[in-house]
Symmetry: D2
């Protein structure tokens, strides 16, 4: 019996776990975990250890940018193609204090040549969420995608 | 005798060293060094240690984004104000193989409320440079800037 | 009796109508209309006249960018401050065929110095909507905003 | 005898004139002219007629965004491929007063699947130039590009 392609135990999530986390030294270095998975919608998180902060005791902007970049690529990959990040734009919204930093990436459009992903980053502090950044990314489909698998947006 | 405000030994560079590097845990964790300093133009670099790479053996995109973000903030700070990163956009141009990753940030406009910085990231591999990313950032002046210190220019 | 500050007949909408449309030659030239108004959420639209198209018979990208820019500024202004557009990033999602092009801008964060707005552009063709672009913009508050009027995002 | 592929009278410039200007209603509506042409580097301009301004008597931001978008697409097309604009990010630097608005697009990287272009917009007022905006764009190659024609460079 095959598992459905959603949830952390699904084939898609396992492939992402193997390719995106276990074989990427930096992703392990940052301690990034997959938090939720369904095609076109992925969440990732990491613990805000002291070494990931900056001088005001909050998450360094580079950690926030890293997590937005990562979750955007993972959301694009969750649509079943090999991807390479092309570009992204990130707006910082609030200081990121807390124990956990997490992000959600959502596919806005999965085209033949590229995938557009919106992502949002949150900090969790004593159970309270703060929306700390929002990003918009373009991810290239390395080998393209078959036409019948595309969608034209939401 | 006062030192001129350019070069790694200038007062501006020393302030950046103290505020941007020594008091920022993540910047030390990444091993980022100031490489060149003059008002409005700053370079930073880091060694591409194995833990900063991803599965293809090249610098992880998150490391490239981090360095572009950092050098943009430093270039803005080099104009003599307290800064907070507002937003940036980054385009990846080529895979980043090599021993050293470095970046240059250049102020395009230093206004009263915000500073616009263009930055470029390069990988050095056996003496050869590859242009791996380019970014465009908006940095807010925390307490503003006196009008006579602004420029409207390139 | 005062009108509530939402709806096309509210004081906020009337101010926008006077400042953003009637006194702006280009906005009139493009034929832009206010379509919906509430603080932090504004819609604008224009008719896709032949002169606003390009060689494939669809809306020119410049028209789409213009509408995203305009609705972003209007959404920021709807929070009660004088604004100046700082920057935006726009992703094109699909070709824009149809009779009407419209856009919605939503404030993600209204800070003291700047407002972050997400906007989406749609084309309406024979009653059917296509999501043609999405944008993320930073708008500066010209004279700042009193602290008690800010929000820290969603 | 063939003309070299640079200059306003070259085959590349004539193709752009036919495809980008004469067959695009909006481009004619805006009065956009090709100003300089060489592969990977293109300039465009338009007269700042009263209907292209906003309430402060300066060029409307939408006109600036339009010109940056257009010159970016043209610079990408000047490398000899069919293009479609994917996304861009634009920073406004200064108010655009003057008689002429012009822009230069320069290709940073011409890859197989996409072209990265940096563009800058200037206003000319009584012979004096003001740098009014800078943009960074990603343009997709509709049918790809043969590998031997790509560059990886600046």
């Amino acid at each position: 019996m095959t598992k459905p392609d959603a949830g952390l135990d699904s084939p898609g999530a396992r492939l992402l776990q193997a390719q995106g986390i276990e074989s990427s030294a930096f992703t392990r270095f940052m301690g990034t975990r997959l938090r939720a998975f369904s095609p076109g919608r992925v969440e990732a998180e990491l613990d805000l250890r002291p070494e990931l902060t900056q001088h005001h005791g909050q998450a360094h902007g580079g950690v926030i940018g890293y997590l937005a970049d990562t979750v955007s690529a993972w959301a694009a990959a969750s649509t079943g193609i090999d991807v390479v990040m092309s570009e992204y734009k990130l707006n910082f919204l609030a200081a990121a204090h807390g124990e956990v930093l997490w992000a959600r990436g959502e596919v806005l459009k999965a085209g033949r040549r590229q995938v557009i992903v919106r992502s949002d980053v949150y900090a969790t502090h004593e159970g309270q969420e703060t929306h700390v950044a929002t990003a918009l990314a373009t991810i290239a489909a390395v080998n393209g995608r078959r036409e019948e698998e595309t969608n034209a947006g939401q």
